[in-house]
Symmetry: C3
Subunit: 145 residues, 3 copies
């Protein structure tokens, strides 16, 4: 059995910016040498989320955020903003609903995502942020030939 | 330590069809021989999700989808549909919000779900689909007697 | 490699009561002796959820529940309630959307949460409940000195 940690650092524009992490996640799994096991990915912080999404401009630049605006409108009343005199109450609420982490199976040395299914970081804060995503990979390493 | 992968293939009717996977998930855990550990389940594809739900007709056939219709109405404007000339923008958005995967603890050889808590596949696409769910199970196998 | 299970028992007031589990989760990881690996946390039952949230009164006592009320209003029509003559259809729907479990990385003997990011239990039922959260921890134990 093999355990390893991997850190991704991603600069975002905030405000619903969605970043495709698939290549980085698959690279971390490859680096780990695990062929069968599990990866856990978590974004550090309470105003960003991880999920999977087809990474195409319509969904990424409009559709997902339009739905989040129905759930937690930017201009609704947030007690968080009244207390802390900031503007990101909706960011916190949206992030808690989508969730901070993903559990990902590893089969044949990769996460078996669909062709149009990407692992994405959704930055919901109201300003550009430098984000840290932690991945741990556990499993069976490749048998020596 | 023991690692194994299990594949479930499920035909759905699409359009919010919810399928109870509990029996299949518990069977995979039993097959794995792991008595203490973790299972990771992920649906392949970007228009379906995994969560837990009490599997009873009211929730399964009406209530969950009614809430999703508030978040991502079928007839809202989706840039995804304008680009690709399809009809499943809401499917993608709903799937990203619920999420594609579940992390499940294993104790005493099973996932310790509640009596009225089932592991479910929610197929959000607009047509019948053949779905693949990948489970990996890691943990301590039963001690030999 | 090391595998262990940990059970948290939490009494809640129901009705959107949010409880900070961070200290309990970090203590379980510490008890496990795992320095590098993964924790899986799941709440047993179909009317509560786990996520991460900044644990401050505005978000905890108002903002998250206000968003859930937009998604699954308490007074909407629920087929679940018509069938079972109860009042918690919205609780089930909200719980399924947030999700029952969290996959958490472990690095240097702790879950690397942000300073304002807490692991929380969200009890969505309509009455006080005694909740059980199961954690399993898998990974590499500390090297002996």
């Amino acid at each position: 059995m093999n355990v390893s940690s991997h850190t991704l650092r991603i600069s975002t524009e905030g405000d619903g910016h969605i970043v495709d992490l698939t290549r980085d996640v698959q690279a971390a799994v490859r680096t780990s040498g695990v062929t069968s096991g599990q990866a856990t990915a978590m974004v550090v912080g309470s105003t960003a989320s991880l999920t999977t999404l087809e990474y195409e401009p319509g969904l990424v630049e409009h559709d997902l955020v339009a739905a989040l605006e129905r759930i937690a409108p930017e201009n609704a009343r947030y007690a968080h903003e009244e207390t802390w005199h900031d503007d990101n109450g909706h960011s916190h609420v949206r992030a808690a609903l989508i969730g901070p982490s993903l559990a990902l199976p590893i089969v044949d040395g990769r996460v078996p995502l669909g062709t149009w299914q990407q692992v994405v970081l959704v930055d919901l804060d109201t300003r550009p942020r430098d984000r840290t995503i932690i991945l741990t990979v556990i499993g069976q390493p490749e048998e020596p030939a």
